[in-house]
């Protein structure tokens, strides 16, 4: 069976133990079983698809994605969208979100706010929205005194991939984002499993915690 270099890079990342931060020299190079140069090529690929982030000899991995290699093809559009996300803020509070919802035509709200609407599990914080023309919306926000930066609570995402099954897309976005959104993905999995075609594998302890904390709500 032929394995591509991209798959080898992902498998090398999957072999790493769970750590908050990895060292290129001590962790990643040995896990590739290849030369240092090849390890750096793998790192470059993982960086390009947005699952690895780092400076010099240290890096962080989106372990949520790495642990779902069977879904990688389905996750790539979400990962790419998140990698090209643009953050905007004016008051840096709920007002920005209200302004956005009132004035912008968006295609789909995803992550925090959509997950909250579906599951009522975690408080939403940032508004992630897919828009058709990201530059046009960005310019409109800037004309309305929004600033682009790292801390904004309104986040524009380019439309990449399939949006025919909204719940599936939100679910994949949650896995692709990782962190706390993984718990949103688990909550969606528990409540809307029959609407999901592609499903992730999650840690049983984490599933148990989400199950315990989910409140009984009316499913539409």
């Amino acid at each position: 069976m032929y394995i591509t270099k991209q798959e080898l890079a992902l498998l090398s990342a999957q072999r790493l133990d769970t750590k908050p931060v990895y060292s290129m020299k001590d962790d990643f190079v040995p896990s590739t079983f290849k030369s240092k140069r090849t390890a750096y090529r793998y790192r470059k690929y993982l960086e390009s698809i947005g699952v690895l982030k780092g400076k010099r000899g240290n890096f962080k991995l989106n372990t949520s994605v790495i642990s779902q290699l069977h879904l990688i093809q389905n996750l790539l559009p979400s990962i790419k969208s998140l990698k090209n996300a643009r953050k905007f803020g004016r008051n840096y509070n709920e007002k920005d979100i209200k302004f956005f919802k009132k004035n912008i035509v968006y295609q789909l709200i995803t992550l925090d706010y959509k997950a909250w609407e579906l599951t009522k599990y975690q408080n939403p914080s940032d508004l992630y929205a897919y828009v058709k023309d990201i530059d046009e919306v960005a310019n409109y926000l800037k004309d309305n005194k929004f600033k682009e930066g790292k801390k904004g609570r309104v986040i524009l995402l380019p439309m990449i991939g399939d949006f025919s099954n909204e719940i599936q897309r939100v679910y994949l976005d949650c896995i692709a984002k990782g962190g706390r959104s993984t718990q949103d993905a688990i909550a969606i999995n528990l409540l809307f499993w029959e609407k999901l075609v592609y499903k992730g594998h999650f840690n049983i302890e984490e599933v148990k915690i989400v199950q315990d904390n989910l409140k009984p709500i009316d499913i539409p």
């Binding site: 750590k19 400076k55 240290n58 408080n123 993984t182 718990q183």
Partner: protein, 182 residues
């Protein structure tokens, strides 16, 4: 103990519950999502509130205040408001996420917040450095995300010497530093 001036926090059910819990039980130290929120004003927590009761409290005393043990969750209780689950740690616990409970209580910071109708409430939460080391020790997906949030909102306030003395270990100290600078 460091005290923060009155700060305007975002409306948050977690914060409201933290105020109610402090009113019910008196001296408690928040850890977890509520502590991250108090340090960053960014609320992305699950619907549970973790805190340590600073004094000796028995299950009977908690029951009198209608904090009822929930199913088989180790530290899980429901309150009379039934809006949020609370995870209660007693001051008799030896440590939480590798930090001695006494250290968490003794180094806690005070936060004065503007609550309903201009009333000032005071909450106590684990100090920034202790919180960072606790999150690093737990290392779940959400803890890493919380560390990223703390890094982007409170990086300048971090006392790295204190983190070094809490970890008492050069390797973990350097890993935390690397993580929070990526």
């Amino acid at each position: 103990m460091i005290s923060h001036n009155i700060k305007k926090y975002r409306h948050s059910p977690l914060l409201n519950e933290a105020i109610e819990v402090t009113n019910d039980l008196g001296s408690v130290t928040f850890i977890g999502a509520a502590a991250v929120f108090l340090h960053t004003n960014k609320d992305r927590g699950s619907q549970d509130l973790d805190f340590i009761i600073d004094y000796d409290a028995t299950d009977e005393q908690l029951q009198e205040k209608r904090y009822i043990k929930y199913n088989d969750r180790r530290n899980g209780y429901t309150t009379k408001r039934k809006t949020i689950f609370v995870d209660i740690y007693k001051n008799t616990n030896a440590d939480i996420s590798g930090i001695p409970t006494k250290t968490i209580i003794n180094t806690a910071e005070r936060f004065e917040i503007n609550a309903k109708r201009g009333r000032i409430n005071e909450l106590k939460a684990a100090n920034l450095e202790v919180l960072i080391v606790m999150k690093y020790n737990a290392r779940r997906n959400q803890d890493i995300e919380d560390l990223e949030t703390l890094a982007s909102y409170s990086r300048r306030k971090i006392d790295w010497n204190q983190i070094k003395s809490i970890t008492n270990d050069d390797y973990h100290y350097s890993r935390i530093r690397a993580l929070m600078h990526i």
